[in-house]
């Protein structure tokens, strides 16, 4: 089964909730719990899209996003950013942003839109 979504999120309960939502919609979903090694994981799995938390142990979501956009092979990968710090002062380069806490329906709609585009 191909990986549709790679979720990079350190909070286990949030990760479980996201995985539950996406799996029920039929998307293949994998999770990675920290900033360190996230980029390698993306290259290895080659997901169709990325859900990225901002505050991560190791490297932050903003750093990972910057590396992603600087890499020609990954620059076009759709990215949904999850932010627990509101929507101000967000790093550039994300296709969509959802502030935490989010409504489950919003997450589903954004993921569908991004995957259909991809």
């Amino acid at each position: 089964m191909s990986v549709d979504v790679l979720l990079i999120e350190d909070e286990p309960s949030i990760a479980e909730a996201v995985r539950f939502i996406l799996t029920r919609d039929g998307w293949g979903c994998e999770q990675w719990p920290e900033g360190t090694g996230a980029l390698e994981r993306i290259r290895a799995l080659a997901p169709r899209m990325l859900i990225l938390d901002l505050m991560l142990p190791g490297r932050s979501g903003a750093e990972i996003l910057a590396d992603l956009r600087a890499d020609p092979a990954l620059a076009a990968l759709p990215v949904l950013l999850l932010s627990a710090r509101g929507t101000a002062n967000l790093p550039p380069g994300a296709d969509r942003v959802l502030p935490k806490p989010f409504a489950n329906a919003d997450l589903r709609a954004v993921v569908r839109e991004l995957l259909e585009q991809a």
Binding site: D10, E11, P12, S13, I14, E16, A17, V18, F20, I21, P33, E34, M55, P57, G58, A84, R85, G86, T87, P99, K100, P101, F102, A103, N104
Partner: protein
């Protein structure tokens, strides 16, 4: 009484004065001068005015010219009683500028002109020569009165008198280079001599009135007979002579070098003049009112052809009163001695400062710039110069005495001296009263007046020129003197009016005429001179100890240690004035210029002189104050702005943290509660999701509890509930609580139970909170294979308690050790502790609240925390911390608002 025994008595008298002066000098050196520094001493020292001339010559004067002798007393009497405020001004200005002589004063006023100083010195020396001759002559004459065919006068007695006086002057006048040119020993000696001569003169007067004549009535009758016989119609009063003589004697009391010395240089302050204003005229009155009785009785009973100048002595001798005659001789000797000694000291200072040192400076310009080869050379040179000058002055007086043949009447010699020195008077008066008087004007006046005086008065008195021919009816002496003074004044005024004063003169004239302290306004820009060079110079002049002390005090007043003050304009001006006290203003200015290359007068000096200078300076100072005030305010504003900016950044970061910590559990709760609302959710999922929601809600509660706890602690609002507890019980409870909260790993707990039984006085709930937090952290973060926790307890040396809690995990890296007690400093770790990162921050606040501390102990293998408790809790310290505003309490409210707003997408 033989002349030999009189000489012996004189020698004994001089020896007594030596001892007295020596004792006074020693007392002054030991700082015990104060009891001698009385107005009465000052007033008595002024009597140096009454030289041998007044002692012997006044009676002779009265015998020859009747009441005219009174003019000699009237002039000073008028000056002191009628114009003592003027003298006061003179003393104030002179002291302000640390003037050392009349020549120094005139030169200082006219732009510190070295030429003018040398010129006034020349006049002083010329005028003093006949005067000193007069003293030597009077002593010789007095000795000769005692001579009989069997006891002839020793040969060359005047030479020995001159040498003895020179020795006294050298010993006490040139002992050292005093900064203020005061000679305490000499002053005491002349004060005593003033009493001796007054006592002697009054004794003769009393003897004459009651011992020879039949009391005052008889004396008055004799005076009447004599005044009739003298001119047929009483003693004629020649108005121009009287005017001239009163003017001259009034001037003499200020400008004669010896008078200027006792009046100004030796004055400790200008208030001395308050008493001297009446006491000195009283002294003169006592000396004068007995003159006429002695004169008329002497003329009556002594043989025709007796020298009237010696009546004072001849009268007691003719009556066989040898003891009284000896007292009179000593009185006259006192008069001569004090006059010669003070004149020699004053004139030698002038000659050394204004002739010899400038000459030496000119010859050896390079010597001062180079390093001091012989450190003392300048000071020794100064003293030797003065010694030489004293010998020269007294030697010149002796020569004049020999040349004039010892025959002239005493009074004539005195008036020659007075009229010569009076040539300085116009420059002095104009210098103090008229700012327009210039240096060229002063020089022209003094030169013109002195030339006329030399031609018409001085040279004729030596017999080198014929008496000038005056228009009929005009007294030759009065005419010559008034002409010289008129020409002097006219030249001074005319040339000053045509002249434009130089900047340095303008500065000085401002200071002299308005009697304001000379301002510290030397050139702008850094002086080229080094403080070391000035110290060396001062050491050469004053001796190293005194120089070091002066510099140390100056440095101290600038708030510096050591001996090298900053060369501020103020210091340089003060230093130059101190220097002027030793070598005179002109020489001091020259020295400063040579040493420091501080030449000329600058633009700022000129500004100083301009009419509005002082007001402009005041305004400027106010402006400077205001702008300094503004600058301070601006700096304070900038500082508080920076503080606020930093606080604001802290607040933003803090709010972001709290927002994140609250949103994370909220996100889970929202997501899972939405699943729970779905009707077709399987039951087992439903139960698991509810559990997650429950846990996350608990996590939020803990976070909010922590936040509130921290805010209460930081605001200092926590209440201390102290009690006495057994530490062992507390550790037991803490381990139980932490164990219950921890995951199921088995930890080996290593303790020394016996050591734990320590009573502690503290707030048990708060200490428990700390212990639980630290133990829980150890359980959470210790990743060792066989995890263990070690707890050690002990009493600290101060009577407090120390609890070390360590694990055997990886510990905390050196870089992070400083961060762990900060709020939200949860170190990046994938294991997640489930807390918000406030635990150790709260522990730190609690321990401060309990008066103790918590610290990380590095190098213990694993993570190790030391909790220190004081012997008893010190809540007071925490209460004092209430004033320290921490942003936290208010932020808790703010962050709640932010969380709500963000979640609404606002």
């Amino acid at each position: 009484m033989t002349p030999e025994s009189l000489v012996a008595a004189s020698v004994a008298y001089v020896a007594l004065m030596f001892l007295l002066a020596h004792a006074a000098d020693r007392a002054a050196a030991a700082g015990r001068w104060r009891w001698m520094d009385r107005p009465v001493i000052y007033t008595l020292s002024l009597s140096v005015y009454c030289s041998a001339w007044t002692f012997y010559g006044a009676v002779g004067y009265a015998s020859r010219s009747g009441l005219e002798f009174l003019t000699i007393y009237l002039g000073p009497g008028i000056v002191f009683s009628g114009a003592w405020w003027g003298l006061r001004r003179l003393v104030r200005v002179a002291r302000m500028h640390r003037v050392t002589s009349i020549a120094d004063l005139i030169s200082s006023r006219f732009g510190k002109s070295a030429g003018l100083a040398a010129l006034v010195t020349l006049i002083g020396v010329m005028a003093a020569t006949p005067y000193i001759a007069l003293q030597l002559q009077s002593v010789s004459m007095a000795l000769s009165a005692f001579a009989t065919p069997e006891h002839a006068l020793p040969r060359n007695v005047s030479v020995w008198v001159a040498l003895g006086l020179a020795a006294f002057a050298i010993l006490f006048g040139t002992r050292n280079l005093a900064v203020d040119e005061r000679h305490h020993g000499v002053v005491i000696a002349i004060a005593v001599e003033a009493v001796v001569k007054l006592a002697a003169f009054v004794a003769v007067g009393v003897f004459v009135i009651w011992g020879i004549a039949d009391g005052p009535a008889d004396v008055l009758a004799r005076i009447d007979r004599m005044s009739v016989s003298a001119g047929g119609e009483g003693w004629p009063i020649n108005p121009e002579r009287w005017f001239t003589l009163i003017l001259l004697s009034g001037a003499a009391v200020m400008v004669l070098p010896r008078m200027f010395h006792v009046l100004v240089v030796e004055a400790s302050d200008e208030d001395r003049l308050r008493q001297a204003g009446w006491a000195f005229p009283a002294y003169l009155a006592l000396m004068s009112f007995l003159v006429l009785p002695i004169a008329v009785v002497g003329a009556d009973i002594l043989p025709k052809g007796a020298n009237p100048d010696l009546y004072v002595l001849d009268l007691p001798l003719s009556q066989g009163r040898e003891a009284l005659a000896t007292l009179v001789f000593l009185g006259g000797f006192s008069s001569a001695m004090s006059m010669v000694v003070v004149s020699a000291i004053a004139l030698s200072t002038m000659m050394a400062n204004h002739w010899l040192v400038p000459l030496w400076l000119r010859l050896r310009q390079a010597a001062l710039a180079g390093p001091a080869r012989a450190p003392e050379d300048l000071g020794t040179l100064m003293l030797n110069a003065r010694r030489l000058a004293i010998l020269a002055i007294i030697g010149a007086g002796w020569l004049y005495h020999r040349m004039s043949g010892g025959t002239s009447a005493l009074a004539a010699m005195g008036t020659v001296a007075f009229s010569g020195m009076a040539q300085v008077l116009p420059a002095l008066v104009a210098g103090l009263l008229w700012r327009g008087a210039t240096r060229r004007g002063a020089i022209a006046g003094v030169v013109g007046g002195t030339l006329i005086w030399t031609l018409l008065v001085f040279l004729p008195s030596l017999g080198l020129l014929a008496q000038p021919a005056m228009p009929a009816g005009i007294d030759p002496f009065a005419g010559a003197v008034l002409l010289a003074l008129a020409v002097n004044l006219l030249l001074l005024v005319l040339i000053s009016l045509m002249d434009f004063p130089e900047p340095a003169e303008r500065l000085q004239s401002l200071s002299f005429v308005h009697a304001v302290a000379p301002d510290a306004a030397p050139g702008d820009g850094a002086p080229a001179v080094q403080p070391e060079a000035l110290l060396t110079l001062a050491g050469r002049l004053w001796g190293n100890d005194h120089a070091l002390e002066t510099f140390r005090r100056a440095a101290e007043s600038q708030g510096k240690g050591g001996y090298l003050p900053d060369l501020t304009p103020r210091f340089l001006a003060d230093f130059e004035r101190l220097l002027a006290g030793t070598v005179g203003a002109a020489t001091a200015a020259a020295l400063m210029t040579r040493v420091g290359g501080r030449g000329g007068v600058t633009v700022s000096d000129l500004m100083e002189v301009a009419g509005e200078a002082s007001r402009a300076r005041e305004d400027n100072r106010r402006l400077e104050n205001t702008s300094a005030e503004l600058a301070r305010t601006a700096a304070m504003l900038r500082e508080s702005n920076e503080k606020l900016t930093a606080l604001s950044a802290q607040k933003d970061a803090f709010l972001g943290q709290i927002s994140h910590e609250l949103r994370t559990p909220m996100t889970s709760i929202r997501a899972f509660s939405e699943f729970l609302m779905e009707p077709d959710l399987p039951t087992e999922e439903r139960a698991r999701f509810a559990g997650i929601i429950h846990d996350e809600a608990g996590r939020m509660t803990r976070l909010l509890d922590d936040l509130l706890d921290l805010s209460v602690l930081e605001a200092g609002k926590a209440r201390l509930k102290p009690g006495v507890f057994n530490l062992h019980d507390l550790i037991e409870r803490a381990l139980a609580s932490a164990g219950a909260a921890a995951s199921g790993r088995d930890f080996a707990i290593r303790r020394n139970i016996a050591a734990e039984h320590l009573p502690v006085i503290t707030d048990q709930d708060r200490l428990l909170q700390v212990l639980i937090n630290v133990i829980t952290n150890a359980r959470k973060y210790c990743s060792a294979e066989a995890p263990q926790i070690r707890i050690d307890c002990r009493r600290s040396p101060d009577g407090g308690t120390e609890i070390d809690i360590a694990d055997n995990g990886p510990g905390i890296s050196a870089g992070n050790q400083a961060l762990i007690f900060e709020k939200f400093a949860r170190l990046n770790d994938p294991a997640r502790a489930g807390g918000a990162g406030l635990g150790l921050a709260i522990c730190k606040e609690i321990m401060e609240f309990l008066g103790g501390s918590i610290a990380y102990l590095p190098g213990q293998g694993g993570a190790c925390f030391r909790i220190s408790l004081p012997p008893r809790p010190r809540a007071g310290r925490k209460m004092m911390k209430m004033r320290r505003v921490k942003p936290f309490g208010n932020l808790c409210m703010a962050c709640c608002a932010k969380v709500v707003m963000d979640s609404r997408g606002l």
